[in-house]
């Protein structure tokens, strides 16, 4: 295993995890976060903020249900704005988790072992946030089930399988389900650990039930490994498909600025881009607060930063190409759409997004920037902002000025647009900190495999 050698050759910065750990100590350090009684101020503070944002969210939803989507700034022709922007943004963020847990597993990148757990959790919560918007933005949310085919029905009408929105429904729900299963299967051994280490009976019971009686049997381990490989194999095309399907929402439409053939790769890259930004935003404070620098090392941050950079470049390329093609196509509407984007009422937003997504991230080429955690943290935030603006621009600026100038009109966000958006951030953080509190945020058993002690010396022969 390549990483093994690296551990030996250089155990300062390149190490996957710092030296000196034993099976026991990693177990205790990670499990203690969950099993301890009191939490650090950091946790309490963040949880408090998240919770108040969550309340704001609920408030906004109640109003939405009572009055209708009119409380948002949407209008003819900008019928979609914040809701769909948030949807695409959250879904995109989700991608990093699956990518780390699935693709890196297949590529046998062992360094993933100490970050995949919370990255997957992040995926789940991001998908949860994303999944709400397609329902919330409906004019009549209580009829959401009409988007699913169901028998028997007294209406006799089924969804329109030609509509990308229906594809979305399938893609997102599949994505959510598969991620959840994958995550849970991965959790079972650690749940076993917690069960065995829980102090009180209730704890033992709960973790016992959740671990389904995992006992680390070799037979189980071998099937377990097959299962995770298979799930990884399934999740990999899935994660690529999800944002592809999301991008169909736009490419299938005839709107200038939407109707484009290369959205899928462009969107997937963007998704991973924002995903890794979110991973860093979460990882950097966590390792500090819970003293996990030994497990989530410089190396992890560095690799994530590199991935960010790589996908960032792809996104940059996409921006350039779509603008070029708009010009090259000679299509009146496309050209106008991009001209408006760059010089029209949304110009500021557009150029801010270019700065956040293309210009500033170039700094990541420098090792010094990548190794400077505070800067890396801020840069990741910038990328998150940038990616949100990207979706906003694609959706709103294309809608605001399309074919017939007579109907053009500019979107203006209302306070309820903002409340809903910030609200989901609250929900996300809320769930994430619950997760930290109740489940091991790092995969214990996978970290054990990284320890030198885990290596089986072959010389002994019975």
């Amino acid at each position: 295993m390549p990483d093994e050698q690296e551990v030996l050759e250089d155990n300062t910065t390149r190490a996957v995890i710092a030296p000196g750990y034993t099976f026991g100590t990693v177990t205790d350090q990670i499990a203690s976060v969950v099993l301890t009684k009191h939490q650090p101020m950091f946790w309490v503070a963040c949880f408090g903020v998240a919770f108040s944002l969550l309340l704001l969210f609920l408030w906004a939803i109640v109003l939405l249900m009572a009055k209708g989507v009119g409380i948002w700034g949407i209008r003819t022709p900008v019928m979609w704005a914040f809701a769909i922007t948030n949807f695409v943004w959250w879904i995109g963020i989700g991608h990093a988790g699956t990518l780390i847990s699935a693709i890196l597993l297949l590529l046998n990148q062992q360094w993933r072992n100490s970050i995949n757990r919370f990255a997957e959790a992040m995926t789940l919560f991001a998908v949860a946030c994303a999944g709400m918007f397609p329902l919330l933005h409906l004019g009549r949310p209580w009829l959401f089930y009409w988007l699913f085919p169901y028998f028997p029905t007294t209406i006799g009408v089924q969804p329109n399988f030609r509509s990308p929105l229906v594809w979305d429904v399938f893609a997102v729900s599949t994505y959510g389900t598969v991620s959840l299963l994958f995550w849970y299967v991965g959790l079972m051994p650690d749940l076993g650990t917690l069960r065995d280490r829980a102090k009180n009976r209730i704890g033992k019971m709960i973790y016992g039930v959740m671990s389904m009686g995992w006992r680390g049997s070799a037979k189980h381990w071998s099937i377990f490994e097959t299962a995770s490989l298979l799930l990884a194999g399934l999740a990999t095309p899935l994660v690529l498909s999800v944002h592809t399907v999301v991008s169909f929402d736009f490419t299938i439409a005839i709107l200038p600025g939407w109707h484009s053939t290369f959205f899928p790769p462009y969107f997937v890259a963007g998704a991973i881009y924002s995903g890794f930004a979110m991973v860093l935003v979460l990882a950097i404070p966590l390792r500090k607060v819970y003293h996990l620098e030994g497990l989530i090392t410089r190396r992890h941050l560095d690799n994530s930063a590199k991935l960010m950079l790589a996908t960032g470049e792809i996104v940059a390329y996409a921006y350039i190409m779509e603008t070029f093609l708009a010009w090259y196509s000679g299509d009146v509407y496309e050209q106008a759409a991009f001209w408006h984007r760059m010089t029209g009422p949304y110009a500021i937003t557009y150029w801010v997004l270019i700065t956040c997504n293309i210009i500033l991230p170039q700094a990541l080429w420098s090792k010094r920037v990548r190794n400077n955690t505070p800067v890396l943290f801020i840069w990741s935030l910038i990328v998150l902002v940038g990616m949100w603006l990207e979706r906003y621009i694609i959706i709103v600026s294309s809608l605001a000025q399309d074919f017939l100038p007579s109907s053009w009109s500019l979107f203006q966000a209302t306070r309820w647009d903002w409340a809903t958006f910030l609200g989901t951030i609250g929900l996300f953080t809320f769930l994430f900190f619950l997760f930290i509190r109740l489940l091991p945020m790092i995969s214990i058993f996978e970290v054990r495999t990284l320890l030198p002690q885990a290596k089986v010396e072959e010389e002994v022969r019975g």
Partner: protein, 997 residues
């Protein structure tokens, strides 16, 4: 949106236009200005950066209350399927009326009146509820067309803000009590021959009412009858007296006119008989393979009107300069011998060509003076028409249509004098709203209170009722019997469709109360009057027929010959040409007229022609004036005239003449009702008897504050390459019919992977003739009435959430000071490959077997994806519960054949599918095909110029098919290959070669 406007740089505009190659279209001055380089743009756009707090989205709460008033439903329609419904009850008739078949609408002929002139309509009635107004094809004044006011009159009938009780000083009284009071007034007044009685009415054309008033005056010789109509044809009356020495009514025949010169006349969209004029005028403009001639229109006007948009040559002139123009033209055609040139080049530049054109068409030309122009202009027009030998051909003189033509200003002045003299014991104000509409210097509000007893009959408890002891609820025209005369004098009968909702009485009934048979009802009065007039036998048959037709055939007033007196044309006492000072121009509002329709949501929300402004009036100025005053749309002005002053927001109107300010009357109501109160400002506050229509000497001062307008038209440049409006000149077209389509590409049908869907049987389609459309907006209201379309209110319109299924877009091209203006009605295009259908996740919108783009409201979950993907943006979304499910009176208004849409549902034009289905069912019951013309969509039926034609495209002989076969036919955004069923005929102009060169 107007709140997104910015400073206007006219220099930049001009520069841009110089640089522009070929014809450059634009939507507003803002676009033209929006060519500054990037930096400037950023700095300008930033404040209205798209992500930002929208200030007042909470005001929707306030607005909701108002919304509740508009639109209604029978039971909870449009809610989700598969739910247990509340138990409903059925209450059958006890004795079912003969002619009535439950579930089938009945049509009754009646008429609406404006300024006393009656236009015949057919009112549709469902189980006794009038729900829709159509034109009466038999009636000479309408020929089946209908104007926005009449269309919206049903909403007025059910308006919950109507006066509902009879009050004396605020206390509810009975009609009996009032009758008693009135009777002993009459008895007491007999002693002094009624010297203390004054009756103030609106213009009266009703023979019966006139007769009754006459009877009253017989009994009470000293009683006086005054008439006041703020927007009546005052000048025409005066001019007739001056020119002919007798009251003469002028009407026109555009069918015979090859050349028309409009002296500030909006004959295509306002004034008596305009429906017919528009029909005749457009008939001469319809260019087809078999009709290659076209009339030519010269329009001279300060503010661009519907008529102006159709002009082949439009000359923006200050209202005050029109007289000078008329004099010059009169000299030009040899009607007078005055100067044909002067220092003001603008006025004289076209005199030569126009007069030559007129002279070349002697007897087939027409000079028409606007109702808002001073008498002398009318007199000059008379003289010119005489000189051009048009009299009897395009111009017909007859006895007056009005029962008693008086100089209403003088009449009102006379009343005021009596009031001051304290000679008035009893003042009956029957209809009208003089306190609001009378010239400002008369101070009517205080003056009226000098009458000892003030009795007011009115639809609403308005400003006038406020100062009257008695308020009597007036009966709506759909609630009572009446009669009147059409624009050509044709006797028109009006019958009620419904019992008075609030026990109102008509003017006729009140006047009758003063006669010796006070208890006689309107029906008896009218019937007996006509019985007394009837000559020859079988009155019963005659009467039945008259009521059924809504008119008495061949009763148009006969033409009479009159000659213009020489002295009438005496050169002006030097028309006041205070060159520098601004001119103020008053005009009746295009949608709420003189203010009487202020509480009518349909009319308030109907975008005004050209400006597309809703819910507001404004101080409308030209770009040049704006530049010199350094003001921009939305800025507040302090305007003062003759010591009166008020604050008004600026609206910059391309094509508006520079140097004058146009204000539309009717806004600034304080007691109109929930919809009208507090909307706009009140120009009556500046309007004096001297200057009813315009005068110089207006002072304006820019003041602090800004104003948010609600328009349905947004500001952006129109890329000519989009070929949205296709147009050309008649000659180009005759040379090369394809010329109008230059540069436009239509992808071949083969450009698709998929096989075609075949449409056997019917294939519904629509053709719209841009050459005929005047942009009057009648179709928009008709659609609203037919399809239960909700009113959303100013705030929501500002958020561009107006619900109109059919909109009329306006595009400009050319110099902002005098651009060419094009109107384009845009309903759902019913694309065969509809982008909206593809993306709907629940199949709420899909294609019918006849090619209709069906919209199933009850299936819609409101993803709004369809609207996003609709290139024509004709889909409308219920962002809130816009429809009214509570107000009882409004429930009666609704068309039972159309679902009332609930919150969160998308809706759109369906070619009036309810009418299609009705016709299909009727035809199938008779085992036949639907006949051509049997189905008329609401917009088509009401269109004065027959610009909209609907029909079966599988029938090559249907009018729609034949129009689509025309060379001028084109599809909007054809290059998208959506294959719309709605197509347009390109618009043609017929410019005078002399001028165009």
């Amino acid at each position: 949106m107007s709140d997104l406007r910015k400073k206007l740089d006219l220099a930049a505009v001009r520069a841009r236009l110089e640089g522009a190659r070929g014809r450059e279209y634009w939507r507003s001055l803002d676009d033209l200005a929006s060519t500054e380089e990037f930096q400037d743009l950023l700095e300008r756009e930033f404040p209205r950066q798209a992500i930002g707090w929208s200030e007042d989205e909470n005001s929707v709460d306030g607005r909701r209350n108002f919304l509740k008033l508009m639109g209604a439903s029978l039971a909870l329609a449009g809610l989700t399927a598969c739910t247990k419904q509340p138990v409903e009850h059925i209450m059958p008739y006890v004795r079912q009326p003969e002619e009535l078949i439950p579930g089938k609408p009945l049509f009754f002929a009646t008429a609406t009146t404006l300024n006393g002139v009656a236009s015949g309509v057919l009112a549709e009635s469902h189980e006794g509820r009038p729900t829709k107004i159509e034109g009466n094809p038999e009636h000479p004044g309408t020929l089946g067309a209908c104007d926005p006011f009449s269309q919206a009159s049903v909403l007025q009938l059910y308006d919950p803000d109507r006066a509902q009780v009879l009050t004396y000083e605020g206390e509810v009284r009975s009609w009996a009590a009032f009758l008693a009071e009135l009777r002993n007034i009459v008895v007491r007044q007999r002693l002094k021959n009624g010297a203390g009685i004054r009756i103030l009415t609106e213009t009266v054309t009703s023979p019966t009412l006139a007769a009754q008033l006459h009877a009253v005056q017989q009994a009470l010789p000293a009683a006086k009858w005054h008439q006041w109509e703020p927007a009546g044809p005052h000048s025409a009356r005066t001019s007739a007296m001056q020119a002919f020495g007798q009251p003469v009514h002028t009407r026109y025949n555009f069918l015979n006119a090859n050349v028309v010169v409009s002296l500030d006349s909006d004959f295509l969209a306002s004034g008596a008989g305009y429906l017919r004029y528009a029909r005749e005028f457009s008939a001469r403009r319809r260019v087809r393979t078999d009709q290659t001639t076209m009339n030519r229109l010269y329009a001279v006007e300060p503010m661009p009107t519907a008529t102006g948009t159709k002009a082949d040559h439009r000359l923006p002139l200050r209202a005050g300069d029109v007289e000078e123009f008329a004099r010059a033209l009169a000299a030009g055609v040899g009607a007078t011998n005055g100067p044909q040139s002067g220092q003001n080049g603008d006025i004289y530049k076209w005199i030569g060509p126009i007069s030559r054109d007129l002279l070349a068409n002697k007897g087939a030309s027409l000079v028409i003076a606007g109702e808002c122009q001073p008498p002398i202009v009318h007199t000059l027009a008379h003289a010119m028409n005489a000189a051009l030998g048009n009299v009897g051909k395009t111009v017909i003189y007859s006895d007056p249509v009005e029962a008693k033509p008086v100089d209403q200003v003088a009449s009102l002045q006379d009343l005021v004098n009596d009031l001051d003299a304290g000679a008035v014991d009893v003042l009956l104000i029957l209809g009208g709203n003089p306190v609001f509409t009378a010239p400002v210097e008369l101070g009517m509000r205080d003056r009226i209170q000098k009458a000892r007893l003030r009795i007011r009959l009115g639809l609403y408890e308005d400003e006038t009722s406020e100062v009257c002891q008695w308020h009597l609820p007036e009966a709506h025209y759909l609630e009572t019997w009446s009669d009147g005369r059409a624009y050509d004098g044709t006797i028109t009968l009006m019958q009620p469709l419904i019992e008075p909702l609030y026990g109102g009485r008509s003017v006729l009934e009140i006047v009758t109360m003063m006669t010796d048979l006070p208890q006689t009802g309107a029906y008896e009065t009218i019937r007996s009057y006509w019985a007394s007039q009837h000559t020859g036998g079988d009155f019963e048959g005659w009467w039945r027929r008259a009521v059924h037709d809504g008119l008495v055939a061949d009763t148009a007033l006969p033409a009479k010959t009159v000659a213009v007196r020489g002295d009438a044309l005496a050169p002006a006492a030097q028309a006041p040409q205070a060159g520098g000072s601004l001119e103020v121009v008053f005009r009746p509002d295009p949608t709420i007229y003189d203010g009487r329709f202020a509480n009518n949501g349909w009319l308030q929300e109907l975008p005004k022609p050209v400006s597309k402004l809703t819910w507001d009036n404004a101080a409308i100025i030209g770009p040049g004036t704006a530049h010199s005053l350094n003001v921009d749309t939305g800025d507040m002005l302090e305007v003062s005239y003759q010591g009166h002053s008020l604050r008004a927001p600026v609206w910059i109107q391309p094509g508006h003449v520079n140097g004058s300010v146009t204000m539309h009357l009717g806004y600034g109501r304080t007691r109109s009702g929930r919809a009208g109160d507090g909307m706009g400002f009140n120009p009556y506050g500046l309007r004096t008897a001297k200057a009813l229509w315009h005068d110089t000497g207006l002072e304006v001062r820019k003041t602090s504050g800004s104003y948010l307008f609600a328009t349905t038209q947004n500001e952006h440049a129109l890329d000519t390459r989009r070929h949205i409006i296709r147009q050309g000149t008649l000659n180009e077209y005759l040379k090369n019919p394809e010329s109008v389509h230059e540069g436009a590409e239509v992808p071949p049908r083969t450009l698709t992977l998929y096989p075609e869907f075949k449409y056997e049987g019917y294939a519904w389609g629509m053709a719209i003739d841009l050459n005929a459309c005047t942009g009057c907006g009648a179709c928009v209201v008709a659609c609203q009435a037919e399809n239960n379309i909700a009113v959303v209110g100013k705030d929501q319109v500002r958020r561009s959430r107006a619900m109109h299924w059919l909109r009329v877009d306006a595009y400009y091209s050319g110099d902002p000071d005098n651009p060419a203006i094009y109107n384009q009605p845009v309903p759902c295009q019913q694309c065969e490959d509809a982008p909206c259908e593809l993306v709907c996740p629940v199949q709420a919108t899909s294609h019918s077997s006849e090619g209709l783009n069906d919209m199933v409201y009850n299936r819609c979950v409101g993803t709004r994806y369809c609207s996003n993907n609709c290139p024509y943006k004709v889909r409308r979304f219920n962002f809130y519960l816009f429809s009214d499910y509570e107000t009882p009176s409004l429930k009666l208004l609704h068309n039972p054949d159309v679902t009332v849409r609930s919150r969160g549902v998308m809706e759109k034009c369906t070619y009036c599918v309810q009418r299609i289905n009705y016709a299909k069912i009727e035809s199938e019951k008779e085992n036949r095909k639907v006949r051509e013309g049997e189905i008329q969509t609401a917009c088509q039926a009401t269109c004065p110029t027959e610009a909209i034609v609907f029909g079966n495209l599988n029938d090559p002989n249907s009018r729609a098919s034949r129009m689509k076969a025309e060379k001028l036919n084109y599809a909007l955004l054809a290059d998208l290959n959506t294959r719309p069923r709605t197509t347009y005929l390109a618009s043609l102009r017929n410019p005078n070669p002399e001028i165009e060169a």
